[in-house]
Point group: C2
Chain length 217, copies 2
């Protein structure tokens, strides 16, 4: 177990915690207080850390996801859908006239991009809730640019799926959807902030070099 800790950078108490929580299968017992761990243990620990650190998932959510990865089944598209569902926050639907208006706008937005989606899916509820909030706060400039966000999302999804389709091993495709989607959100959010600070420097720093704020520290 000390070796497993060295190989993964995860502390021994944390590895014991993962074992207790059922996130990591036990090693092969070689003596009453020794067990042999293999490469699959190293990889599993990396997966757990990725989902805890970057996707911000709870131990319970991670356990559900790992069970799903260990027991797939069904066609690939359905598997990918179930995997995606697991990394999409659930949302309650709203109500009232303003919610209906925002839901219609969300439906029109995705239709313009040739997409089909159940209006009650968590993703559509989130889009609806965000549009409703932007409208309530008077962010007309953002609402006017929804198609640019959708085109960027389309481009990201094409890259995601191309990477998935390339994998020679179908069971790793599902893993890639789970991990790639969660970590991809963090990656894109960070690249967006880096791009924002550079665009802000270009737009709002009149004199080049003023304040040196463009390093985005």
């Amino acid at each position: 177990m000390a070796e497993l800790s060295r190989a993964t950078g995860v502390s021994v108490p944390m590895i014991k915690y993962y074992l207790r929580e059922g996130l990591l299968p036990g090693g092969e017992r070689t003596s009453p207080n020794q067990a042999r761990y293999g490469q699959e243990h190293v990889r599993r620990i990396q997966l757990v850390r990725a989902m805890a650190d970057y996707a911000g998932l709870s131990i319970a959510d991670i356990r559900t996801l790992l069970e799903h990865l260990d027991n797939p089944g069904r066609g690939l598209h359905d598997q990918l859908g179930a995997a995606q569902k697991a990394v999409t926050p659930r949302r309650e639907p709203g109500e009232g006239e303003q919610w209906e208006t925002a839901a219609r706008q969300a439906g029109e937005l995705i239709a313009r991009h040739g997409w089909v989606q159940n209006p009650d899916s968590p993703a559509m509820r989130t889009v609806t809730g965000v549009l409703l909030t932007f409208a309530g706060l008077g962010y007309d400039g953002v609402l006017a640019r929804l198609d640019e966000y959708a085109e960027a999302a389309a481009r990201i999804a094409e890259a995601d799926l191309a990477a998935v389709a390339e994998r020679p091993d179908p069971e790793k495709m599902v893993e890639l959807v789970v991990v790639g989607t969660s970590l991809g959100d963090a990656l894109i959010a960070s690249l967006r902030r880096i791009a924002q600070s550079n665009a802000s420097a270009r737009l709002f720093l009149d004199a080049p070099g003023e304040g040196g704020g463009s390093d985005g520290s």
Copy 2:
């Protein structure tokens, strides 16, 4: 207060909680147990809800952000940077040879897109950590597509800043960076999932209509 609850859809106990936590200024007292609340209270409640529901921020983080919005100062670029920092998760740096390799790759990635960023910024640490994780898990297909993610992020940031630059009121620009960045992450993540499920249906459902999974429920 009952009226304020109706106008915002937020319950009276929750409004009282916001008042106690200092997220909402008190109303103008009109009698010992009556107070008048105005449009600025409605808007403030919408802001708090947006940050709690979609950005997943804690009450303490929201208080810090609101204080920042109420007391800006400095040049616009610096204000935007401070606002952005508040909506960027903090990350500890890693160490070791693999971390250094990932940090170099992150630096090369942003340089290819013409961006400058302090390698110790939270956003750069996140990019580095994600690249390190992808490499550890053997996701070569994703690593091969980093430039596509960066280009999508560039496009998103251009739309963000264009919306910000359009605002006639500088104090609302900073608010828009805070709220637009947090809610924009949720919007983009959701649009990405909708686009993914549609791309998945196209790629992996051989027979059109098979399973009907493309509605992404």
